[in-house]
Symmetry: C2
Subunit: 305 residues, 2 copies
Amino acid sequence: MTLTDLRYLVALARERHFGHAAERCNVSQPTLSVAIKKLEDELAVTLFERSAADVKITDIGARIVAQAEKVLLEAGQIKELATAGRDPLSGPLKVGVIYTIGPYLLPHLIPRVHAAAPSMPLLIQENYTARLAESLKRGDLDVIVVALPFEEPGIVTQAVYDEPFRVLMPAGHAWEKEEAIAASSLAEAPLLLLGAGNCFRDQVLEVCPMCRSGEGLQRTLEGSSLETIRHMVATGAGITVLPSSAADPLPDGNALLNVRPFVAPEPFRRVALAWRVTYPRSGAIDVIRSAILASPLPGVRPVSR
Amino acid sequence: MTLTDLRYLVALARERHFGHAAERCNVSQPTLSVAIKKLEDELAVTLFERSAADVKITDIGARIVAQAEKVLLEAGQIKELATAGRDPLSGPLKVGVIYTIGPYLLPHLIPRVHAAAPSMPLLIQENYTARLAESLKRGDLDVIVVALPFEEPGIVTQAVYDEPFRVLMPAGHAWEKEEAIAASSLAEAPLLLLGAGNCFRDQVLEVCPMCRSGEGLQRTLEGSSLETIRHMVATGAGITVLPSSAADPLPDGNALLNVRPFVAPEPFRRVALAWRVTYPRSGAIDVIRSAILASPLPGVRPVSR
DNA sequence: GGCGTTGTATAGTTAATCTCTATCGCATTG
DNA sequence: CAATGCGATAGAGATTAACTATACAACGCC
């Protein structure tokens, strides 16, 4: 029993004439004849009474035809589902973002994606890189925004932008008069750091090897956020390093805080998109990339593909 | 897209492993692989993300699988319907009976058929032979009980029983002392006849050629029934001829009526079943035949097949 | 970092099936 | 009784579906 057989069956029930039914199905009369006979043999039921005068459907035949119509209807729904699902910009997209990007990117990203792909709602999760990677591989996320380096089997990454680091210090700090800060100076002041698990913490420590080795005065704030740290800096608890997108939006004449770049070569992080190689909705990812690049993130430099 | 493809699809969605899914479908892994790929091409949608680690279903894939399950479920119903409908003794049987048999046969027939085939309800229509024949050919009836001769293209008949004719006369009639009546005598008395269209009327006239030619005293009672005629005979309005099943059930010592056979050779009618050659439920017809033969119709002689 | 393992895709072949044209057989009709 | 209409059947050809064998990719393990 195939869907084709059922189509023949329904056509014959409608036409009550093998020739006409065959024509409607764009097949020859013998083809339809044989198919119906095969169906009857398979079901071990007489579906039609053939006579010279006309073709009559049996009681059981009528019931089976009604069921066959239901099957064909449901099968048609499959094609409709496929057509509707063909558009990579339709259907929800599960996006993951690391904590140190989310608060600065998402407010810009979400409306831009919605404008570009109105029928692609975003389901967003913020988390550590490691957790995002796990969810991505498991299929709980479709695409994630992380900082490089990020290497995972089965995952491809695409750099989107580079983002320089800034030094944040309270108003009245000794370095206030400096134009730019040398990375090596970081060990001299109490440096406020995010907790373990945040890749940005590691990247900052990378910038300041002395801090990493524990020679500096750094203090780790577990379970905190860049925003909390910023407030702490404002109260004079120490200095910190922020990505430009988090540091630069502040009005430069902020009463409590000063932002300074590093001296060249500026340390920076490279932010990338990552998804499973097998993920089929590449169009959706393109939309995300474009929306990120269209977002006004101060200080960032796009990475050409 | 075939039902087989959908079965593969559902299996793969369940197993999330091409090899295991193929095994469950009793096909080789490449067969299933190719089928899924063909489906994906046809629907122009990626249903699964294949990777070394595992097989993930896409969002659209999951929706299509759910729909495929629905299709397969409905398709399975077809087989169930066929199985249920395979029994010729299941489902209603549309039976037609001529007016001069129905009242005497049906009270016996119906309970016997119900006993033999409890899930085959009878839908019964009484009518003239010509009308029954029309309904039978149109498919409004499945089998009819008529008197022979009955020849119709596409219709087969099977004699069931022979039924002798009887003479019915009022008590005190001149022929009361006769053991048997000669057919030729019928022209001498007022003979009450059914209206045109009843085959039994013609058969009676056949018995008595003089009556047919209008030489007798016959009176036709249009729109009447054998029972009405019997009452009229009882009131002395004339005599009549009845089939034995209608005449003999009377207690012989009926105060108002006398029943006499004809002198040999007794005139009789041959009652038969008729159905379309193409009618598939021959088992149902066998049940009807058996039930008729098991009915206590006085005077009738079974006709061996 | 090469190598074995696991798992899917591809190639090539064979077998089944589907569909076609041509024709038969049956029944009705003029 | 020939003509016609219609479904069934036969035989050929083409398509498709299945198999086996093998390639290929990704990961894990010494």
